[in-house]
Amino acid sequence: MVKIENLIKNYGDFRLDVSMEILEGRVTGIVGKNGAGKSTIIKAILGLIRPDGGKVTIGGKDIAQLTVADKEKMGVALSDSGFSSYLSAEDIIRILRKMYRFFDESFFRAYCSQQRLPMNKPLKDFSTGMKAKIRVLTAISHRADLLIMDEPTAGLDVEARNDILDLLREYLSKNDNGSILLTSHISTDLEGLCDDIYLINDGRVILHEDTDAILGRYGILKVDGKAYDSLDKSYIIGTKKTAFGYTCFTNEKQFYLENYPGIVIENGSIDDLILMMTGD
């Protein structure tokens, strides 16, 4: 669905240099610390920035060649940009009606009513959660094949976050071949939704793995200095020295469970992945 080949973008000292692929019918997450390059990748896919090198294609078409009809098949929610905050939900409906041939007005209205989103209040008077819901609702209400979401749940409380994730799940249930690319730094959001995860650090992809593999195969070993010295480090992909010894991140938890029964082994999570792989 989306293919990024050797995408390069330079901003002063920062250099983004990534390749990745978002497959049809899959939910792909991009994680990484602030400033890692997540939003730059999203902007490059959307044609909002001019890359210094490489190629981005959507459905086999270079993004510069995308037609209005191609763009109609994309739904976008950006964390820091949306419709003018002086417009209301009612205004947005009128605009989307003219903007998208397949705009599902009844779905939009039903969701606003279900979530008690005011129809005639300007967006500037909405809470952060309400604004986020309108942004995601706008993206999914016109039968898009591809959703691109930049931090759709950033700054939201648990309830609002769950509402947004439910919206995305609803989109997936209605669109078998629909793909989603989303960035987030909230690991539970990604664990519950993404099929695969790209970990970005300093403008580079340092890991690409299926979410199930991260949660099933990856793990954290907690060992003291002596145990660390005798440890087979073939499957250790990150190590941190702590006050009590070492914390090691492995991509073969089972190997250590079988061969080192005495050491503490915890299940891996996306948070661990970020901390262990990108920590200084």
């Binding site: 902007k43 959307l46 044609g47 909002l48 920035i49 001019r50 209005v68 009809a69 763009k71 109609e72 994309m74 976008v76 950006l78 820091d80 940009s81 949306g82 419709f83 003018s84 905050s85 002086y86 417009l87 205004d91 009128r94 605009i95 989307l96 009606r97 003219k98 903007m99 998208y100 300007p122 691109i148």
Partner: protein, 217 residues
């Protein structure tokens, strides 16, 4: 395109206070002044409101999202010119009606047919102003474009003052052109003005498209 026009119209209507002040000012101007001043004033306000829609798009980093909608960048630019033209046309019609009513109340026999070319001449003049402002606003943003506009006007005034000192009236081709235009029939003069305005707007549109296509969000 129609979605963008809908957005700009809705944003313009939201500026109720500004619209009320504009109408109030227009009435005061209409009552206190005679002639076609009110027409120029209202058309100018219409264009300022239309160009203001770019500020609304720019506000809160809105451009980034707008450029993800199913609209090409050059369509976005074209819509701004059409919106300006539409706003100036509506303002002109309102101004002509207000002017006509006020003159009738005053008891002045207004011959619209006689005044019409003069009244219409304001539209290409104001659209030329829009043709200068739109690419500047797209390139520099609302705040900086004002400064750039002042600098350009300052340079034009200084330049014309300098030229006036260098060139005697007999030699000035501009003055000869102005005299020739004065001699034209009102209809032909109007057609020439609209023609020049169309050429300037087309050049301005091409510049704006270049600006937007180079822009990163």
């Amino acid at each position: 395109m129609s979605g963008l026009l809908e957005k700009d119209l809705r944003l313009t209507v939201k500026r109720k206070q500004t619209l009320v002040i504009f109408v109030f000012m227009a009435l005061i101007m209409g009552i206190s002044t005679e002639g076609t001043f009110i027409i120029g004033y209202l058309v100018m306000l219409g264009i300022i409101l239309a160009i203001g829609s770019i500020s609304y798009d720019e506000y809160d980093n809105g451009f980034a999202f707008l450029m993800t909608l199913p609209v090409k960048r050059k369509t976005y630019v074209l819509e701004k010119y059409l919106f300006c033209a539409g706003m100036s046309a509506v303002s002109w019609i309102v101004a002509v009606i207000v002017s006509f009513v006020l003159e009738t109340v005053r008891g002045n026999a207004v011959s619209l047919a006689e005044e019409l070319p003069m009244m219409l001449m304001i539209v290409p003049m104001m659209m030329t102003m829009a043709a200068i402002m739109i690419p500047l606003q797209l390139r520099f943003g609302a705040e900086k474009s004002r400064i750039v506009l002042f600098v350009i006007f300052g340079a034009v005034i200084a330049g014309s003052f300098f030229m006036k000192r260098l060139v005697t009236p007999e030699e000035s081709s501009l003055q000869r052109l102005a005299m020739k235009l004065e001699g034209l029939s009102p209809a032909l003069g109007l057609a020439v003005s609209f023609g020049i305005c169309l050429v300037l707007c087309s050049i301005s549109y091409l510049c704006s498209v270049k600006v937007m296509e180079r822009k990163e969000f």
